[in-house]
């Protein structure tokens, strides 16, 4: 029995069914519902990114909205200046964000914990202010997306939906793949105890750097699609801290440091939002108050979020990134058990808790 990542339980039948449902959806459900689902899936992608940072890399970023906005702006201007339909230049968004993130990391990583958190927020405000003052970028009023005309309007919603779904799936399974890799194992050791991790040779800085760049790219991509759907971007919306508020609330309520947590969190977030605004007819402010109170309650009473509570009822992990320690070598039998000492990575053993 070799050591290494435990198999996650994701049956192929569900995957195939899910894929079919996504492809078929635009013909089956109305435009309003499509838009709602697109928003939810983009939010899921962003939440996974924030979770990657806070739940696995130990980085609480309160400025993540800067990448949402930068992704949107870079897409808009790439599309406009090259006069190509927006979806063709999507890769520009994550690329720009990755580069900016790499540079930002160089000085933000000097700050620890809470100071890093607010430092990233300050950076976001700086970018927002700079964009507001730059007329060529549309200034405070922002810009529209004339090249959207290049897309057949009947396909705009379905395309947005499929791309959002693809991004959400990539975010979830990409993070899954990352965490099952060596980089992922490194990340989790850093999260659990960065001093101990450094002492066994894990490059703390490099692992965090990789996570930070990936999270920036992911948020940039999601932000680009989100604003393409609205056909308009302005600094107030693009760099709005409420993006990161939503990411945080989703992850905290759903379950920080687990892959299934953000999925649960997104469902609860949107269910609460619809319930409070549609059902009870409250204004947007009240639903944020309600969500804030739920988040506070979560931190006080269930800091690990709802997922650990649901796991038991739902038959175990869907997407486990837990490692098994290698089985001890069986001395009494003939077959050698050298498989168990495959690499130093698996020798570290299982991470404690449900992470």
């Amino acid at each position: 029995m070799s050591g290494g990542p435990r198999r996650g339980y994701v049956p192929w039948s569900i995957v195939a069914l899910g894929g079919l449902a996504i492809v078929a959806a635009p013909w089956v459900i109305g435009e309003g519902a499509l838009r709602f689902l697109s928003e939810a899936m983009l939010m899921l992608a962003m939440a996974q990114m924030w979770n990657l940072l806070a739940g696995y890399a130990g980085l609480v970023s309160m400025g993540q909205q800067v990448f949402v906005g930068l992704g949107a702006y870079s897409l808009f201007f790439a599309s406009i200046s090259l006069n190509i339909a927006p979806f063709w230049v999507l890769p520009v968004a994550p690329l720009v964000c990755a580069v900016v993130a790499a540079i930002v990391a160089l000085f933000m990583f000097r700050l620890r914990e809470a100071y890093f958190a607010i430092g990233t927020w300050v950076f976001s405000e700086v970018v927002s202010l700079l964009v507001s003052k730059t007329d060529r970028l549309g200034g405070e009023r922002g810009v529209g997306l004339p090249t959207a005309r290049l897309i057949d309007p009947r396909w705009l919603e379905p395309l947005t939906f499929w791309i959002s779904a693809a991004i959400a799936i990539a975010a979830v399974f990409g993070t899954y793949a990352l965490l099952r890799s060596r980089v992922g194992l490194g990340l989790m050791t850093v999260r659990d105890n960065d001093v101990a991790a450094a002492s066994i040779g894990v490059d703390v800085w490099r692992n965090r750097f990789i996570a930070f760049v990936i999270a920036a790219a992911g948020c940039g991509l999601a932000g680009a699609v989100s604003f393409t759907a609205t056909l308009y971007v302005a600094p107030g919306f693009a760099f709005d801290p409420n993006w990161v508020v939503a990411m945080m609330i989703i992850v905290i309520i759903g379950g920080i440091g687990t892959l299934e947590g953000p999925i649960v969190g997104v469902i609860i977030y949107f269910a609460l939002r619809e319930a409070l605004t549609v059902f009870f007819g409250l204004s947007a402010g009240w639903y944020l108050i309600g969500l804030g109170i739920v988040a506070i309650a979560a931190i006080l009473f269930e800091p690990d979020g709802l997922w650990p509570l649901l796991r038991g009822h739902l038959g175990g992990d869907w997407l486990s990134v837990r490692r098994e320690p290698p089985a001890p070598p069986r001395i009494a039998t003939v077959t050698p058990a050298v498989e168990g000492v495959r690499s130093s990575a698996s020798g570290l053993g299982a991470t404690p808790g449900d992470r």
Binding site: A54, E125, L129, L130, K133, I252, S283, G285, G292, I296
Partner: protein
């Protein structure tokens, strides 16, 4: 001459920024918690001031500083006792950040619901416009008052911490939360009082800032960022460092505004980012 005036005014308002930050520096130093709702309490104090003025319109806003500070003290005490004390002993350093962030979100949106999203202002009458001259130099009377008040409060805080029994207890609790229990001190109660003090100081800054500039429920974010920048630039946990950090930010902002009227707090933020890049332990580290 205009430049000297600008810089002098920057110094004077910098005292205010220092005051915005010192409350935060206090709780960071004592309990290693960054209160992300600090900005919202600063704004809330201003709104309480507005409400009180509505009830007693004949009173000058400066007189209301004390009652608002007392109210803020009570709110801080309650915040710590009911919420923050439950997470302060957890090994996870982020629980307190996330918790106070949740509080900030709730407070911000509650203030919008209760007071509306419009910009407000605390009228200080002629005092806000008055200026006095030293030779050719014109300096606002209000900024001078603010600086004097800031220095007085800083000094009082310093004396409280270094010369009194309470200050001794606070410093000892900050050093070793467990060991003070052996001497009969309940760390939770110390934290309650310190948080109360922190928000009382913040409320004074909030009121004074509301006299100078308009505010809305959304201004909390900006106040928090300034307070935070003051703390970091000053060297975490250092009080006079926070004062100097505040002054640096004040000068940066006013000089920036003269160069670039639409900048808002941009130049202050840029100073902070440069400061972090060059000296992450604080530009003005003063041994506390």
């Amino acid at each position: 001459m205009i430049w000297v005036e600008t810089i002098v005014n920057g110094v004077l308002y910098g005292g205010l920024y220092g005051l915005l930050g010192v409350g935060l520096a206090l709780i960071v130093g004592v309990m290693r918690v960054v209160n992300l709702s600090h900005g919202e309490f600063i704004v809330l104090s201003a709104f309480i001031g507005v409400s009180l003025l509505g009830v007693f319109p004949w009173i000058h806003p400066l007189v209301l500083l004390l009652p608002v500070a007392v109210i803020a003290f009570g709110l801080g005490f309650a915040l710590q006792a009911v919420l923050i004390n439950r997470v302060v002993t957890r090994p996870d350093p982020f629980a307190a950040i996330l918790l106070t962030f949740g509080v900030a979100v709730v407070m911000r949106n509650l203030m919008v619901e209760v007071y509306g999203a419009d910009l407000r202002h605390l009228q200080a009458g002629r005092l806000a416009q008055a200026s006095t001259g030293i030779g050719d130099l014109h300096v606002g009377v209000l900024p001078l008052l603010i600086l004097a008040l800031s220095i007085a409060l800083f000094t009082a805080l310093q004396l409280l911490l270094t010369r009194t029994r309470f200050g001794r207890i606070v410093r000892a609790t900050a050093d070793h939360r467990d060991v003070v229990r052996l001497m009969g001190v309940n760390p939770g109660r110390v934290y309650n009082l310190v948080m109360g003090l922190s928000l009382a100081l913040a409320s004074v800054a909030g009121m004074l800032l509301a006299i100078r500039a308009s505010f809305s429920p959304y201004s909390g974010v900006e106040r928090l960022l300034v307070a935070f920048e003051v703390v970091v630039l000053g060297g975490l946990g250092s009080f006079w460092g926070a004062m100097f950090g505040g002054i640096a930010l004040g000068v940066a902002e006013l000089v920036g505004l003269r160069l670039d009227p639409n900048a808002g707090p941009l130049y202050a933020h840029l100073l902070f980012l440069v400061g972090v890049l060059l000296r992450p332990n604080g530009l003005f580290r003063v041994r506390a």
